[in-house]
């Protein structure tokens, strides 16, 4: 929150919306932490983080998988959960789990530079740099491309030694910067 006007109260959410005690336990065990606060009342609130760009995604009974560090805000009718992502996060430091959001409503996602939405379909499988990946929605399968031994050479900070390959049907959002 950078500014607000009106009568608005802010309260720590405890745990993701609708997850309850079981969700809290799951997050503690998996290490996937989600720090949300509830805003209630009447007024105007301005939200921002680190001068990152904000991408608004409309969900219509779909599921969005998002890195918790990229989540800014979500509408009241959406529910969150922790899911296992498979080995994607193995060496990326992002953990093996991610946050999923389901339902109807808007989600505000953060991106370092304007986000780019790329379609995945049977005709167009997509390969993505895990450090540029922000979130994805639809029915997607994820696998690894490990033919990137060159990335471990000097000159590329802490780049990943693999890429993410998406097949199925959906949309993947990337940012034009590596984490």
């Amino acid at each position: 929150m950078i500014a607000y006007s009106g009568a608005v109260t802010f309260r720590k959410s405890g745990v993701g919306a609708g997850e309850g005690l079981r969700g809290a336990l799951k997050r503690k065990l998996t290490g996937e932490s989600l720090d949300l606060m509830d805003m209630a009342g009447q007024g105007l609130v301005y939200l921002a983080s680190d001068a990152r760009d904000v991408e608004l995604i409309d969900l219509a009974a779909e599921t969005l998988q998002v890195e918790s560090s990229a989540l800014l805000a979500l509408g009241p009718d959406l529910s969150t959960a922790v899911t296992f992502t498979g080995l994607r996060g193995a060496s990326s430091g992002q953990g093996l789990f991610t946050t999923t959001i389901t339902g109807h409503g808007q989600v505000a996602v953060l991106s370092d530079g304007p986000a780019i939405a790329l379609e995945v379909s049977a005709a167009y499988p997509l390969v993505v740099d895990p450090d540029a990946y922000i979130c994805s929605r639809g029915q997607l399968q994820q696998s690894f491309v490990t033919d990137v031994s060159w990335k471990t050479f000097v000159g590329d900070g802490n780049g990943e030694a693999y890429s993410l390959r998406f097949t199925g049907s959906g949309v993947v959002y990337i940012q034009p910067a590596e984490r």
């Binding site: 929150m1 500014a3 309260r11 001068a51």
Partner: protein, 225 residues
């Protein structure tokens, strides 16, 4: 027009005799023409009855006192391109009716003909005002710029200009606060509920409450420059 934005990170400033520019040291990216750079300081004294002299006078004494001056005056004739570490530049138009209150290191450039002064925050809201300074990281002092002209300020990410007036109170995260213009009262308050909700670290419980008539500049980030 003295100032023009080349893009959101770069300012083009016209320099001419009688129209010198004072700018943040090290922010010069390039220049055309015959321009020289010399140290300058914020003129004037502290506290209530500030004289607020222009930036070029009084520099010798201050510089020799051993301070490393954070400002440079551009004199001569030409045009200079200013920018700082990729921070976003916003031009604030001053029409002489209000005073711009801004942290010294958020100032990118201003015409030497405008008046500047260092102001003790205590005068803006008593002890609470001073606390505000400590919390925003401004220290106990801020820079006041007045007169007619354009002032270029820096922020991390875009700047929002929010108007305050009609009895409405605007609450602002102190780390996102850049500056304000007009007859505004800025005080720091502690909001217990806020502290628990945000829990980011120390100092997070404090919010700035702003009321009066004017415009507040807020950046899209909690990072200091």
């Amino acid at each position: 027009m003295t100032f023009e934005l080349v893009n959101h990170k770069v300012l083009r400033a016209a320099v001419a005799p009688g129209a010198e520019i004072v700018a943040r040291r090290g922010a010069m990216l390039a220049y055309h023409g015959d321009v020289r750079f010399t140290p300058a300081t914020i003129g004037g004294g502290f506290g209530a009855g500030r004289p607020g002299m222009g930036g070029l006078t009084g520099m010798a004494g201050r510089a020799m006192a051993g301070e490393s001056s954070p400002l440079m005056a551009a004199t001569g004739s030409g045009e200079v391109f200013y920018g700082h570490l990729g921070a976003q530049v916003t031009i604030v138009e001053m029409d002489g009716s209000g005073e711009l209150s801004v942290e010294a290191d958020r100032l990118l450039a201003f015409p030497a003909t405008m008046q500047t002064a260092v102001v003790f925050l205590g005068t803006q809201g008593g002890v609470r005002g001073a606390i505000r300074g400590a919390v925003t990281g401004q220290g106990l002092f801020t820079t006041a710029v007045s007169g007619v002209g354009q002032v270029a300020v820096l922020s991390h990410g875009g700047t929002l200009a929010l108007t305050v007036g009609g009895g409405r109170v605007l609450t602002v995260d102190p780390q996102a606060y850049v500056g304000h213009v007009g007859a505004l009262t800025v005080t720091a308050t502690v909001n217990a509920g806020w502290r628990e909700a945000v829990g980011r670290g120390s100092g997070e419980a404090v919010q700035l409450k702003i009321s009066g008539d004017g415009t507040v500049y807020v950046q899209a980030s909690e990072q200091k420059l």
